[in-house]
């Protein structure tokens, strides 16, 4: 026995000192607290509703909505409330997705421009960012709405190069639509797929037979790996060549450009963006792009100076330094804050309720006014936004995980 050891090893720890017990205990205590609080709030809400003679049920969703919606997917006032709600969701999704695309493109351009060595470009970008980042979004949306309403009448429309028309009824853009030769072109696509398969197989057979002649047979690639090799290098080009050739070889045009034309008192054809949609889209895209520009700038600046120096010392040109060294390292830094900006844009689209664009919250409001069912409708609106945001987050997290795995093994 060693008399010098004073370590005490108790064979049993009392539960109130046992770290393992305490960890679980406090979590359970916390959970019980939350359940009690939620239960209290819920019963309180039910009591309040009972006093106002409102039952918490969703049956109203099936009844006739009876109000009109100015734009969106096919809808009639005689449709149900549920259908009206769905129109709102689709409108919100539409403006959010287009807004995110525009904001990303504009944001990247201004973010990179802010780091330009050209004084003028750098400062124009800085003014853009500081202006739009520092004015409240609601104000900007109302401003763009006022601007779209101030556009000239149909007869005095502003026409840009015969294809873009601006007037008080909105913005008209040319659209690409399937033309008379479209079905003929589909046959070319099918031919492209078949030809691509043939080319891939031929390439794989050729490569495989070439490898058979080589003496070492220990690490000879399998036939399947040769097919994958062929698919990787030959499939897309073959298909594209046939598809593009088809565009020119069909006797009738497979696609037509549909330009807006004045017919009677209105422009028809092409793509029409209503004044409300245009104002909201411009407002959201411009405002968010200013934030994205900052995210991009800080991401690029976070790549250490030594990386550029090493790339220059190897002899790369400035454009190559940016494309091959800086951007690939900046993207993983940019993506997480970029995700927050995407979420902000989608949620900020609810401000459109101020200019009368029929998005989710706007239609939710109308439904509440008509039915008085504020709690279930609020719940539905909130859950809808939550689902959209969580889906966006999940996608961006997946993308971030994928790109950070490449190259960053640690």
């Amino acid at each position: 026995m060693n008399n010098n050891t004073h370590t005490v090893i108790p064979d049993k720890i009392p539960f109130y000192r046992d770290v393992r017990f305490l960890k679980v205990f406090f979590q359970i205590l916390f959970l019980i607290g939350i359940i009690l609080l939620a239960g209290f709030l819920y019963s309180n809400m039910l009591n309040g509703l009972r006093k106002q003679n409102l039952a918490l049920d969703l049956s109203f969703l099936g009844s006739e909505a009876g109000f009109g919606i100015s734009e969106g997917i096919d809808y009639d006032p005689s449709d149900s409330y549920l259908k009206a709600f769905w129109v709102g969701i689709v409108n919100t999704l539409k403006v959010s997705i287009v807004g995110i695309l525009c904001a990303t493109i504009i944001g990247f351009i201004f973010g990179i421009a802010r780091l330009s060595s050209n004084w003028l470009i750098r400062n124009i970008a800085a003014v853009y960012v500081e202006t739009f980042r520092n004015i409240p979004l609601l104000l900007q949306i109302v401003f763009w709405a006022a601007l779209t309403r101030a556009l000239p009448t149909v007869r005095n429309s502003i026409i840009i190069s015969d294809s873009i028309v601006l007037n008080v009824r909105g913005i008209y853009l040319p659209s690409f639509e399937p033309g008379p030769g479209f079905s003929a072109w589909l046959w070319y696509l099918l031919a492209g797929v078949i030809l691509a398969i043939i080319v891939v197989l031929a390439l794989a057979v050729f490569r495989h037979s070439g490898q058979l002649r080589e003496p070492h047979d220990t690490d000879r690639p399998s036939f399947i790996s040769n097919i994958i090799f062929g698919a990787k290098w030959a499939a897309a080009p073959t298909f594209l060549i046939v598809a593009i050739a088809g565009l020119f070889l069909t006797s009738e045009a497979p696609f037509v450009v549909n330009r807006p034309v004045l017919q009677g008192f209105n422009y028809v054809g092409g793509m029409n963006l209503t004044p409300e949609f245009s104002a909201l889209l411009i407002g959201l895209a411009v405002y968010t792009s200013a934030f994205i520009a900052e995210v991009v700038r800080s991401g690029i600046q976070a790549v250490v100076k030594g990386q550029r120096e090493a790339a220059r010392a190897v002899g790369l040109k400035e454009s190559q330094v940016l494309r091959l060294i800086v951007i690939p390292q900046a993207i993983p830094i940019i993506v997480p804050p970029l995700t927050s900006q995407y979420l902000n844009l989608a949620k900020n689209s609810s401000l459109a309720t101020a200019i009368g664009f029929p998005e989710l919250l706007h239609i939710g409001h109308t439904m509440m006014n008509q039915t008085g069912q504020s709690i279930p409708i609020f719940g539905m609106v909130m859950v809808s936004y939550l689902i959209m945001s969580l889906t966006t987050s999940a996608f961006m997290n997946w993308y971030n995980h994928r790109i950070t795995r490449i190259g960053r093994s640690r």
Partner: protein, 253 residues
């Protein structure tokens, strides 16, 4: 010290009254010197003396504001074409290695040859593998920089510079960020490179290496070269007070 049989009489870098300011701070105060093809020069001096800045002006990582620098007959001016040409002739190794973390070691090496020299991928990879073999780290080719030791990273960085087949190699304190036991593996590679006839400008505090390999030691202090001599003279018979102090302090340990 071994005599350098590769040194020639052709000048490859000519510096004439080179000045550089960082805002108000006068870092280089008129450096005039010539490096010959095949010469091995070690540049030393206290920190802040301008020695790193000086070699960084030679491939235009730093711009000099007055004087002329001519590298292999090309003058470093604001002409982008000249800058790019010179950067292809001059390889550089950094204190912090500066390997590209998102590329494997072999891709770090083939990047320049493929993108700048327009070499085919296969030829560039073969050359890179040969260089890694020479650096004794061929087995690390397909790993990422973060997966290998500092000494190995610095050797990849040397291979990356050599892959461009430069005429001149600049070393900016190549061993200062390394653990003591890794310094020798990098110095061995540099020694081998020196004996192959490469023109080398080395900023370093490794006085043993300087004594053994250098043809000339330049001592920088406050932006001027206050003493330059062959290693034997420099260490055994320093002229300047500042140099004497520096040598006594660096050789103490």
């Amino acid at each position: 010290m071994t005599e350098n049989e590769n040194i020639t009489n052709d000048p490859i870098i000519i510096c004439e009254d080179v000045h550089k300011w960082f805002d108000d701070f006068h870092v280089l105060k008129g450096i005039t010197t010539t490096f010959k093809k095949g010469e091995r020069a070690v540049i030393c001096g206290p920190s802040g003396s301008g020695k790193s800045t000086f070699i960084r002006t030679i491939n235009r990582l730093e711009e000099h504001q007055r004087g002329t620098i001519i590298v292999d007959g090309i003058e470093l001016s604001n002409d982008l074409r000249n800058i790019n040409l010179i950067r292809q002739e001059v390889g550089m190794v950094f204190q912090q290695f500066n390997l590209f973390p998102h590329l494997t070691n072999i891709k770090n090496i083939t990047l320049g040859p493929i993108q700048v020299r327009k070499m085919s991928k296969r030829a560039a990879e073969e050359a890179a593998l040969a260089l890694l073999e020479r650096m004794d780290i061929a087995d690390q080719a397909y790993k990422y920089p973060a997966e290998i030791s500092g000494g190995q990273q610095q050797r990849v960085a040397i291979a990356r510079a050599l892959a461009m087949e430069p005429k001149i190699m600049l070393f900016d304190e190549p061993t200062s960020a390394l653990d003591p036991e890794m310094i020798s593996e990098v110095l061995d590679v540099m020694r081998e490179l020196a004996h192959s006839g490469m023109t080398m400008l080395v900023v370093t505090h490794e006085m043993g290496f300087a004594r053994e390999v250098a043809d000339r030691i330049m001592f920088f202090d406050e932006g001027v070269v206050i003493e330059e001599a062959a290693p034997a003279d420099f260490f055994d018979n320093p002229q300047h007070e500042r140099t004497k102090l520096f040598i006594s302090q660096t050789l103490q340990h």
